[in-house]
Symmetry: C2
Subunit: 146 residues, 2 copies
């Protein structure tokens, strides 16, 4: 239950399960391995860990699914990825490299930095509109958290 201590590697596996399920509806060990550039036994071991922590479910010799908690955590990580990729693209980085670097950055940045990047990427709400019309008052502080 304690997903606080997820390593970078486990975050990557969890995120990839989520992405493959969004893309294919099904996350197969083989595809996870291919997508992350590792061999199947590495995936198997990672899944054992994620199952222990209660983030994924898997019946033997079958595809991987996310628990409710896993879904929540994976969505958070994927949001970070999307935010960072958009950020890098905005800086002029090519899509492929932006994707790769976002993948590295998503595990290491502090909440503060992520917040500032978010402000930079989407000044859409308060900031940019404040210059033209009455601000619509964003409720909380950090939007991308959920």
């Amino acid at each position: 239950m304690d997903h606080t201590k997820l390593t970078q590697s486990l975050e990557d596996y969890l995120e990839m399960v989520h992405m493959l399920r969004l893309a294919n509806g099904l996350a197969r060990v083989k595809d996870i391995a291919a997508a992350l550039g590792v061999k199947m036994p590495s995936v198997a071991k990672a899944m054992v860990e994620l199952k222990k922590i209660g983030l994924v479910r898997q019946e033997p010799y079958s595809g991987v699914e996310l628990t409710e908690e896993g879904e929540r955590v994976a969505a958070m990580i994927l949001n970070r990825h999307i935010l960072l990729k958009g950020f890098l693209i905005k800086l002029g980085v090519s899509e492929a490299i932006a994707d790769k670097d976002a993948c590295s950055m998503e595990h290491i940045l502090s909440a503060e930095t992520l917040g500032k990047i978010e402000d930079f990427v989407k000044p859409t709400d308060a900031i940019s509109s404040a210059k033209k019309l009455k601000p619509a008052a964003k409720n909380g502080k950090k939007a991308g958290e959920k």
Copy 2:
């Protein structure tokens, strides 16, 4: 001699040796350990590696020095650090966090991304002045390469 395969961790140690020598003139094992938040034996092992690769020099029971090559590599890493820290500060991140996150980012970003960040941080040359006067024509493609 083959410093191409420096791990993140070794890059951190090398950079810290450089920083301590710039700051104190002397890089002691104890101070390296304290600065990086590890114990002395970890530093000792890292120094063994860096000596093998030919980036540092050290007479037993004494302070650590950089070889010429080590100096060169360390300076490169430190430059990345400074660039990234400045970048984060420009985004509004506090200095302490900028320093910490720069330290993580400096090992993982691609040359392309570093180049774009450099363009963002110092549009001093071609870009900003291009808007006012005749562009001075940046020579190559990627500025941050050196």
